[in-house]
């Protein structure tokens, strides 16, 4: 007893007291069971929230990469036309492209390269020799000042019959749709989970205050004011919320790192694009700790507001 008591005096005691919930005697009976339940529930909720947010961030990042890749490259296809020299057409088309502003490089694929791309559908090289293979030109675009692709396409097909420009628009759109959908769903899930966290804190705080109703009453009669009593509860649940948030968020962070690491290996999971990202980038950290902070802030606010509203009701 006396050793424990001595903690409260001296420099060490003062230090301890300056840390919330250390060396302070709580006037409020903390219910161990409920506290642990609260931390567990909030940890799991934060875990789910952080995973969702990370997945959303990864999806968004991947989708963006793809979109940038797609937007920075267009393909021009020249179909062999009866009665025309495809090689002349290629020269003409690439000249037009080189003369257009906003295009950084024009690369003509050799016949074999084009054939290679068609191989899955037309069979292996040996039999393809005789076919009038369509030829491809890949065009790098300056994404800062891109050319008007529609007019470029028109120009090309006017000048060279059989030339067509594929700007991957359909794919870009489709991908954009998908990632938007996923982002919306993730955001909804995140919102739901954070709301649940807030709700859980509100209920826990109210429950604790209802359970401590008589103590609050006695404290009032003894001459304690609302601020004093509120102080006994307020930080308690905020701290529990933050603790749960850190636990769950930390676990999620580690899991995300582990998953990313597993994708590094050749036998890994079939997500192209993701595996090219760094394992530990500031976005992952930012997203995870953003979620943890969000949970902490929601927990703090929920507990503070609830404490003041409930004290008013109990008095």
């Amino acid at each position: 007893m006396s050793e424990k008591r001595s903690l409260r005096y001296g420099i060490f005691g003062a230090m301890m007291r300056s840390i919330p919930f250390f060396g302070r005697d709580p006037l409020v009976a903390a219910d161990q069971v409920t506290d642990r339940a609260l931390v567990a529930v909030i940890a799991i909720l934060t875990f789910l929230a952080a995973l969702t947010a990370s997945a959303a961030q990864l999806t968004a990042a991947t989708a963006m990469r793809w979109q940038v890749m797609m937007a920075s490259e267009v393909t021009v296809q020249l179909k062999p036309q009866a009665g025309r020299s495809i090689d002349a057409d290629i020269v003409r088309a690439s000249d037009i492209l080189r003369g257009t502003g906003g295009i950084t490089s024009v690369k003509v694929l050799r016949r074999e390269e084009s054939a290679k791309l068609l191989e899955p559908w037309l069979g292996s090289a040996s039999s393809i020799e005789s076919l009038p293979i369509p030829r491809l030109i890949t065009v790098q675009i300056d994404t800062r000042q891109p050319p008007d692709l529609t007019s470029v396409g028109k120009m090309l097909s006017d000048a060279v019959p059989g030339a067509s420009l594929d700007d991957h628009r359909t794919w870009t759109k489709r991908l954009g749709h998908l990632s938007d959908l996923f982002l919306t769903a993730s955001f909804g899930a995140l919102l739901l989970v954070v709301m649940t966290t807030g709700l859980t804190i509100v209920f826990a705080t109210r429950g604790a205050m209802a359970g401590n109703r008589e103590i609050i009453e006695v404290l009032h009669f003894i001459g304690a004011d609302d601020r004093y009593i509120a102080g006994q509860f307020q930080s308690h649940f905020a701290v529990l919320g933050v603790r749960g948030g850190l636990l769950g968020g930390g676990a999620a962070f580690l899991l995300v790192l582990a998953l990313k690491l597993s994708m590094m290996f050749p036998d890994g999971l079939p997500f192209s694009g993701i595996s090219e990202m760094p394992i530990l980038d500031w976005q992952t950290v930012f997203v995870t700790f953003g979620v943890i902070m969000l949970v902490g802030i929601v927990a703090g606010l929920a507990s503070r507001i609830t404490v003041y509203r409930t004290i008013g009701m109990l008095a």
Partner: protein, 264 residues
């Protein structure tokens, strides 16, 4: 236990709850209330009526006042409203009609902060003790000082001394659930007295202690009274009331309060 019993056998203990005002002396037989001077009433009830819910009034047309440093008993059969009357004074209840004036302030106009200030001038012994179960006896008794923001070093010795006086010296670190009925009662009395209030409200403060301990506690009330505290004790115990000469009796019967003139 032996220790507790022995401390009731008339040994002189000096007890200084606040500013070394009080010294308890062995007073045999005739305890005497401090003759009060009127320096503005602490409590004044004017035609107060109280109705719980929708039934008949529990208290009707209650008018009385409590002078500073006065000593009075409140008595009446079980269920006549003694606790109710005390709760009206301690602002746990608002009167259905009439006026309650506390320390010169009309309580119907009271703000929340004002209420806290008034409550710090009162000490309350609840009929059901209302100790905080998770705090030790010491912490419970020190609570009124602690919530006022006082530093523990300034009151530690006082609190310990007061606990010794009520015979709980050995139970300083015990928590209420392991205290006996009488020990809880004494702890709650100590808590009410520790801040040397101007007004002490005690609800059946000796219902769970033996007669000799009751006498000892009564002596404590008398000494507090001498050092300036007005005392109101609600009790059924006729023997207890007979021990104090010059104490007024407020009697509740048939929903009304009858004030017997003090026999000084």
């Amino acid at each position: 236990m032996a220790n507790q019993l022995s401390c009731c056998n008339g040994i002189e203990i000096s007890f200084d709850p606040h500013h070394a005002l009080t010294t308890l002396k062995k007073v045999e037989g005739s305890l005497q209330a401090f003759p009060y001077r009127s320096v503005g009433e602490l409590v004044r009830f004017e035609n107060v009526g109280l109705r719980y819910g929708v039934g008949a009034e529990t208290l009707t047309d209650v008018s009385f006042s409590i002078e500073p440093q006065s000593f009075q008993f409140l008595t009446g059969a079980s269920g006549t409203g003694k606790t109710t009357l005390l709760r009206l004074i301690m602002q746990a209840l608002k009167p259905t009609r009439g006026t309650v004036v506390l320390f010169g302030q009309d309580t119907s106009l009271l703000e929340k902060d004002g209420l806290t200030a008034l409550r710090r001038r009162m000490g309350i012994v609840f009929q059901d003790f209302r100790l905080l179960d998770h705090l030790t006896t010491y912490e419970n008794v020190a609570l009124p000082l602690k919530v006022q923001g006082r530093d523990e070093v300034t009151y530690r010795a006082e609190v310990t001394e007061l606990l010794n006086w009520v015979g709980l010296g050995e139970l300083i670190h015990a928590k209420p659930p392991i205290l006996s009925g009488g020990e809880k009662q004494r702890a709650s009395i100590a808590r009410a007295l520790v801040a040397q209030p101007e007004l002490l409200l005690a609800d059946e403060p000796t219902g769970n202690v033996d007669p000799s301990l009751a006498r000892r506690l009564l002596r404590l009330f008398v000494e507090m009274n001498r050092s300036g505290t007005a005392i109101l004790i609600a009790t059924h115990d006729l023997g207890l009331m007979d021990q104090i000469d010059g104490a007024r009796r407020l009697v509740l019967a048939d929903r009304r309060l009858y004030v017997e003139a003090s026999d000084v």
